[in-house]
Amino acid sequence: MVPRYEYGGDEFIFVELAEEMSLEVNFQAMAITKQLKEDNVPGIVDICPSNASYMIRFKPEEIHPDDLISKLKELEKTVSLEGFEIKSRIVDMPILFEDPWTHETVMNNRDRHQDPNSTDLEYAARINGFDSKEDLIQAITDYPYIASMIGFVPGLPWCYQMVPREQQIEVPKYVRPRTFTSERAFGFGGAFAVIYPVQGAGGYQLFGTAAAPIFENEQRLHDFKDSMTFPRQGDLLRFRSITMDEYKKIRKEVEDGTFRYLIKEFTFTPQQVLENPKAFSDDVLGRLYA
C-alpha cells in the first residue's frame, strides 16, 4: 500500500505507513521521525512515532500543513534503514503471570469476553495453538520485544516480539472494553504486549502483573529521575516470568525506593534484527544477563 498522509484537524498530520504491523514498517517510522527531529523543522510541537504509522503536531502559523506533508513525503523517499542505528536499552521486565489481581479482573469481566468459560491466558493459548497456558507463557518470555510505540496513557509501551511472523502471538481485544484494569497489568491485544501504567479502562487480554512500575509521578525511583515515564520507543524489553516470592521482594524494593531496573545500553541496526531475528534475540538476552 502507498502510505496515507492525512490531516488530523489543523494541528496534526497523521501518516499511516502500512495497515499491517511488521518490524520493517516500525523501523521505517522510527527512522523517518528520527531524521525529522534532527532536521529541527520550525513549527513542530510533537513527533510521535507509532507502530506502523506516525503523527506530527505542528503550529500551522509557522509551517503550512501541506508544506509539512511535502517534507514528510521527501523523508519517506530519502530516509533508508541502511546505516540507521537505534540507541536502545535492553531491560529485564519481571512479570508475575496469573497473579491474583488481574485474575480477579478477568473473572469479573467474563461477560465482556469472547470465551466466558476460560481465563484470558487459557483462551489465548488455545487460539494460538499452544497445548497449555504454560507453553504460551514460555513463548512470551523466550524472546525479547521491541517497544514499538509509547502512548495511550503516559509511558504505556506497545511491545512487539522480535520473532518471525509465523511465530507471532496474536489475540483479539475484549468484545467490550473493561471499565477497570489494575495498575501494572500485563496485557496482550492484536500482536502487542502492554503494561498498563495506571489503573483505568482497557480492552487487552490480561495475563499477569508487572512487579515494577513504568510510570511514577513522584519520581522517587532512580530510573524515573529524568522522567515520570520509563519505557522509550526502541527499548528492547524481556518479559521474565517470576514467582510470588520474587514479586513481593521487588514490591518491597519499590516501596523502599531502592528498586532499579536491570538495564544494558545497546545500539543496533534494523538489518541485524531483520536478517536473523532469532540470532538477534539470543544476542540481546546474552547481553542482558551477562
Binding site: 490531516y7 510533537d46 503523527m55 503550512h64 504505556l156 506497545w158
Partner: protein
Amino acid sequence: MIKVKNPGLQTTVQDYGRIGYYDVGMPPSGAMDKYSYTVGNLLVGNDENAASLEITYMGPTLEFQQDAFIAVTGGEIPPKINGEAVPMWETHSIKAGDELSFDFVKKGARVYLAVAGGVDVPVIMDSRSTYTLCGVGGMEGRALQAGDELKIGNDKKQEVKEGTSLPEEYRLDFSGDNEIRVILGLCSYRLTEESKKRFFEREWSVTTEANRVGYRFKGERLHFVEREQPFGAGSNASNVVDLGYPIGSIQVPDGVEPIALLNDAVTGGGYVTICTIISTDLDKMAQVKTNEKVRFVSVDIEEALQARKEYRDTVEKVRQFVAQ
C-alpha cells in the same frame, strides 16, 4: 489564599496545557475552551498562560482571604459575590472575606475563573494543568475538594481597571446550532460511503459520558468496509494496528457511539479514527452539554486555517481592548 468551601461538581486548575509530551503518552490537559480561558486572563491583566479554575456545570463556593481581581468567562454559570449576582466577562474587585458562588448553569457547560496573578500550584512538565487520571499537576493532581486552599501567584502583566467589561461582539454566543466542524481523514477509508454520509447527515446526541477525556455520542451504528483484518490489528472491524490519536479526533469503537477525544484523552490506541474537530471548534465542543445534540460539518484544511486566523484576530482585538 482562596479557601474552597464547596468544590462544585468538577473544578480543576488549568492553564494553556502541557504541550510537547504527546510522544510519551502525556495528553495536553489544559483549558478545554481556550478562548474563554484566554479572555479571562486578559480581563485580569494576567500572563496568557496563567492558571485559572475550570468550572463544569456546577460552580464552587470560594472564600477569598485576600483582595483580588477576578473575571468569569465562558458558558453561563452566573457568578455571585456575597450572594449578589455580578456580570460575567467583566473585571471585578473582590475583597478579603468575600464569598464567590455560582447559580445554576444557564448556557454552555463550563466557565473559567481567572484571578489576577493566576492560581499558584507547582509547575509540572511546563504546566500547572490538572490531569486527574495520572494525578499530575493542579491541586495534588485532582479536582478541588472542600477545605483546599489555593495560593494566588504572580503571573500578572498589567493592571486592568475594575468594571472593564468585554464588548458583546467578543463574547461567545451559545444560542447556536452546535455545528462542529471537522476535517474528514485519518482512517476514514474504513467507513462505508453510506456511513460517511450518515455521519454528517444526522444529529448526534451527547451522552452522560462527556467530560475532559472525551464526549461520547448516541445516534446510529456506522459500518465498515469489509476486509481481512491486517496482521496485528485485532479482529473487530473497527480495530487498526494501534496508532496515534490527534486531539479532537473522533473514533467509533465497534461502529457504535462515536467518541470525540479531548484534552485529557488517551494519545493512541487501536480504534479507527475518522475525522478531527478543528482547533477552533474544540472550544465550542467543550461548551456542549450532556443531552444536547450536535451536527458534524465537513470542512477542508483551508477553511480550518481561515477559522484559526479569525480566532487569533479576535483574541488580538481583545488584547488591544484590554490594553486601552
